[in-house]
């Protein structure tokens, strides 16, 4: 395990929320697993500041975008796992659409430069 990621961006709040939503979209995960998954999927490029993860989870939960439940992890440890709600799914779709449009637009501008 490499503790030093290549990129350590100062993640904007909205971005972190989107990443978390996307990460729990496929399966229910607990906080630690979410952080690990993001790091893994990004090829160690994105390391979430773990201190920001839990406030983000609270925010999303308050907006009823995700739902947390206590369950027992395969290791036998108790953990609170989060899954996407229907509302969260809609929000994620919208955010993804927006994100794609934005990156396309930025890509066009940068590509033409």
């Amino acid at each position: 395990m490499n503790p030093d990621p290549l990129v350590k961006p100062d993640l904007l709040q909205g971005t972190l929320d989107m990443l978390v939503l996307r990460t729990v979209a496929d399966e229910a995960l607990h906080g630690y697993a979410i952080a690990q998954r993001i790091r893994l999927v990004s090829g160690d490029r994105l390391a979430i500041p773990q201190g920001s993860l839990y406030p983000s989870l609270r925010r999303l939960e308050n907006q009823a975008l995700i739902k947390g439940e206590w369950s027992t992890a395969p290791s036998g440890r108790e953990a609170r796992v989060y899954r996407l709600t229907a509302k969260g799914r809609r929000r994620l779709d919208a955010e993804l659409r927006e994100w794609r449009e934005l990156t396309t637009a930025i890509g066009l501008v940068l590509g033409n430069a």
Binding site: M1, P3, H30, G31, Y32, A33, P49, Q50, G51, S52, Y54, P55, S56, L57, R58, R59, E61, N62, A64, A73, S75, R77, E78, A79, R80
Partner: protein, 900 residues
């Protein structure tokens, strides 16, 4: 999860978060161990990766969005805990605030009931009373004749009704063998319908009850039904005798309704047409009429107050129509143009509609000024209490400055310290506000009792309703803020470790002198001066009134207030009754002389007539009014009126003989311009009466009035008049003589109602209830203010001495004498007192206007009162400072220096 449930479950959520973070750490530690790192190191790395557990928790709590409320709750818990650690202080503070807020709420509840509360009727905003200037003068009048009411009704559409009512009078209901007094009112059949008041039992009056042939009925108020009949439902349909006349009880009015006059509870209503049957003779104005005949058909007797219900849209039309009809009648009545000036004056009269939403209220007029002054007074007391407690809180805050410094050092922000300190004051104030409701409830009723002139309290409904509770709540919050701002501001200025320097002593000179505390003491003294000065004015006003010469011996005369008219005596039976009354009372031991009179002294009942002196031409605006009374020969000797000239009445002044009169100085001066009037003649329109005597000026109605222009005539020459008073000159114990008088009168006729037997002095003093109330309450406020200011001054001086022990020790070590140290402390205190006095005088100047109408016999800017108040305050202030000053003088230099 909603915001509210997050707030309510914040404790569970905190626990969940804790568990979750621990799980996170465990999982990560496991991973790290698996990658070959030793457990201790793995745990450490996991914790570093997560960041501080507490910080993550804080941030997560912030994300919950309930932070503000949770902090507030925490502050409150903290405040309650710290208040409980100083139970003595907290209890004293809460009680002080409870009294302060409660007194304000009590005065407010009375003001609300008297001035602002709407009548408990349907859509009270639509109700109006018809008011016009009285034809005989410019005083407003509400009185109309019965035929006049009909004519006004005719000019309005059917949808806009007019209803009439007589004044509220005392009548007697026969109950258990004796005549029970109660308050009755005559009203037209549509009255209850116009007001929109419903029945609790049976039915109320309806227009059919105005018909001459309908059975005579009465409607009871709910309180009277409760008080007199114990809510017996069987009374509906039963018969009661009102002033001897049998009536069927038709029903009971819904609870809470007691008529249209605030402060007067009507017990029973009957139809107008029964005026003659129940011998009603309430307030009336008559002209060319015979008041002994039934009043209903006579246009010359104005005795009805008219009420109409007009929707807002139709108001102007209604008023115009009524005013037009009134004007037409006025012109018709005054068609005689011979007396041009008088006619022009009478034609100035106009009819207007006066809003009746809050009811009629003689109380409102009498007590508007005193209540306002009281409100200001209790407000000042509360302000002083606030300043006092703020001073104590600051001193407490100073004592806890180490704690504050620690908290600042640990990262508490100034805003949080400010909020926390303020929360503490608010908690105190709200606790005080809660307790204050008891004070308000008790105080409001005590106030009404104190303001009542008779033995019975004014029936005023004081409810702890939303308006009063809202006032108390608002006042508590404002008080908490007032109380807490200064200490909170100080608390927020705490500096980390500041208090640890020099062993916990604050180094800066300005801090140990507690400048804010001194400012608060100065303001307490200023406010106290205002209250003391007001108290002085009111006490002296009362004394001035009590010193007024009434012109008779009010202390020694007992007055029995009787009502032979209410008992049903015919005019023929009166002379016999009078003789028996005189005989029965005369033989009581301790009674040296006895008399009868139509109107007793000090009760305010009066008959006003116009008089004329033959051969003297007066301009039309000359006031020809004089007050008449009919008395038996012993009257002047019994009540102690001084005959200046001529003779009193004798048994020789009898019916058929020369008609004689005794007049007062004021009458002689006004009508004759001289006191040399014995032998002169005057009368109503002809010179009917010869003056045989002159008495010194008298104030027969009330102490507050100027000497009355009195005309006394022998009762024997007007034997048809009903007397209402039996006077006895008591040489013995008044209470015993009064008891014997009741027996004597009952032995003459057990059915003759005796309202009360009291010394005239007591009757007169009831007329001073307002002055007494003000003097008493202002006195109480003044003493409270004085005490609070003294405590405040003591506290600040004592604190400052304690803080300066070190400095004082050095001074004395360097040779300062104890006397000089004491003088220094006293000089310091005196400076505060004098500053406060100067400020108080500045404050007093604009407030004098409030009491201008409430003082008598002295000016509101009376310097003696102000100087006396200032001297008292200075003395009390020095006394309060003397104790800490002598403690300062006893400081032992060696000990003080060692204590460092």
């Amino acid at each position: 999860m909603s915001w509210l449930s997050r707030l309510l479950r914040s404790r569970t959520l905190d626990r969940d978060l804790d568990r979750e973070l621990r799980a996170h750490l465990d999982l990560m530690t496991d991973d790290l161990i698996r990658s070959g790192i030793p457990p201790e190191e793995a745990r450490r790395q996991a914790a570093i990766a997560l960041g501080g557990v507490e910080q993550v928790k804080e941030a997560s709590r912030d994300a919950r969005g309930t932070r503000l409320v949770e902090d507030w709750w925490q502050d409150t818990k903290y405040a309650v805990r710290s208040l409980r650690r100083a139970p003595g202080f907290s209890l004293a503070a809460i009680l002080t605030l409870a009294v302060g807020i409660g007194a304000n709420t009590a005065v407010w509840s009375v003001i609300d009931a008297v001035m602002f509360r709407s009548l408990p009727v349907e859509r009270s905003g639509e109700l109006y009373a018809l008011r016009h200037s009285a034809p005989s003068g410019d005083d407003p009048s509400y009185l109309f004749s019965y035929p006049g009411m009909g004519r006004l009704r005719d000019v309005l559409p059917d949808s806009i009704p007019i209803s009439g009512m007589g004044s509220i009078v005392r009548m007697y209901v026969a109950a258990a063998g004796r005549a029970e007094p109660m308050q009755a009112q005559l009203v037209s059949g549509n009255w209850f319908q116009v007001l929109g008041v419903g029945a609790a039992r049976g039915r109320l009056l309806n227009p059919g009850d105005d018909d001459a042939g309908s059975p005579p009925v009465a409607v009871l108020s709910h309180t009277y039904w409760d008080r007199q009949f114990g809510r017996d439902p069987a009374i509906v349909g039963g018969v009661i005798r009102l002033n001897g006349y049998p009536l069927t009880v038709a029903g009971v009015v819904e609870p809470g309704f007691g008529g249209l006059t605030v402060g007067l509870q009507v017990d029973l209503w009957i139809p107008l047409r029964l005026q003659a049957e129940v011998r009603y003779s309430g307030g009336a104005w008559s002209r060319d009429a015979n008041t002994d005949e039934p009043w209903l058909p006579q246009d010359g007797i104005a005795w009805l107050t008219l009420v109409t219900r007009t929707p807002a849209g139709a108001f102007q039309q209604t008023e115009a129509r009524l005013a037009g009809q009134f004007r037409a009648e006025l012109l018709e009545r005054n068609s005689d143009t011979s007396d041009a000036a008088g006619r022009a004056r009478r034609l100035r009269a106009q009819l207007v509609l006066e809003p009746l939403a809050k009811g009629f209220s003689p109380l409102r007029q009498a007590f508007a000024d005193p209540l306002q002054a009281l409100m200001v007074g209790v407000g000042l007391v509360l302000l002083i209490a606030c300043a006092n407690l703020a001073g104590l809180l600051i001193a407490r805050g100073a004592a806890r400055s180490q704690e504050a410094s620690v908290r600042v050092a640990l990262g508490a922000r100034a805003g949080r310290l400010f909020r926390q300190s303020l929360t503490e004051s608010l908690t105190l104030a709200l606790a005080g506000g809660l307790v204050s409701l008891l004070v308000a409830w008790w105080g409001g009723h005590a106030l009404v009792r104190a303001a009542s002139s008779g033995p019975q309290p004014i029936p005023l409904t004081l409810a702890l309703d939303a308006r009063v509770l809202g006032f108390a709540a608002l006042l508590s919050v404002v008080t908490g803020l007032l109380l807490g701002l200064a200490p909170a501001w100080r608390a927020a200025r705490a500096v980390p470790f500041g208090s640890f320097q020099a062993g916990g002593r604050i180094a800066a000179r300005s801090l140990h002198r507690l400048p804010l505390g001194r400012l608060l003491v100065v303001s307490q003294i200023a406010l106290s001066l205002v209250l003391l000065a007001a108290a002085g004015l009111f006490v002296r006003t009362l004394r001035n009134f009590l010193a007024v010469d009434t012109g008779y011996a009010a202390e020694q005369v007992l007055e029995a207030r009787v009502d032979p008219r209410g008992a049903g005596y015919s005019q023929e039976a009166l002379p016999g009754l009078y003789q028996r009354l005189l005989d029965a009372v005369r033989v009581i031991p301790g009674v040296s002389s006895v008399s009868l009179s139509m109107h007793g002294l000090g009760v305010g009942a009066q008959r006003i007539s116009d008089f004329r002196v033959p051969g003297v031409d007066r301009p039309p605006e000359f006031n020809r009014q004089g007050q008449e009374n009919f008395v038996t020969p012993g009257y002047f000797a019994t009540v102690g009126m001084v005959m200046l000239r001529g003779r009193p009445f004798t048994d020789a002044d009898r019916l058929g003989g020369p008609r004689v009169a005794v007049v007062s100085e004021a009458f002689a001066r006004h009508f004759f311009g001289t006191l040399d009037v014995v032998g002169k003649r005057f009368g109503y329109d002809q010179p009917q009466f010869e003056i045989v005597g002159l008495v010194r000026d008298v104030r027969v109605n009330a102490i507050k009035q100027r000497p009355t222009r009195m005309v006394f005539r022998p009762l024997s020459q007007v034997p048809e008049e009903y007397v209402q008073s039996v006077e006895a000159r008591a040489d013995g114990a008044p209470a015993e003589v009064a008891r014997m008088m009741r027996f004597a009168i009952a032995s003459v006729d057990p059915d003759l109602p005796v309202r009360e037997v009291v010394p005239v002095a007591e009757l007169l003093s009831r007329g001073l209830s307002r002055e007494r109330l003000l003097a008493r309450l202002a006195g109480v406020f003044g003493v409270m203010a004085l005490l609070l200011a003294a405590i405040g001054l003591y506290g600040v001086v004592a604190y400052s001495v304690a803080q300066r022990t070190n400095e004082l020790g050095i001074r004395m070590a360097l040779g300062a004498r104890p006397g000089a140290v004491r003088a220094m402390v006293l000089r310091d205190s005196l400076a505060m007192v004098l500053t406060g006095l100067a400020l108080g005088i500045l404050l007093w100047l604009p407030l004098q206007g409030l009491v201008r109408n409430l003082v008598f016999g002295l000016s509101p800017r009376d310097p003696t009162t102000l100087v006396t108040a200032a001297v008292i305050l200075s003395l009390v202030g020095l006394l309060a400072a003397a104790l800490p000053a002598s403690r300062a003088a006893r400081v032992d230099p060696a000990q003080a220096l060692r204590a460092q």
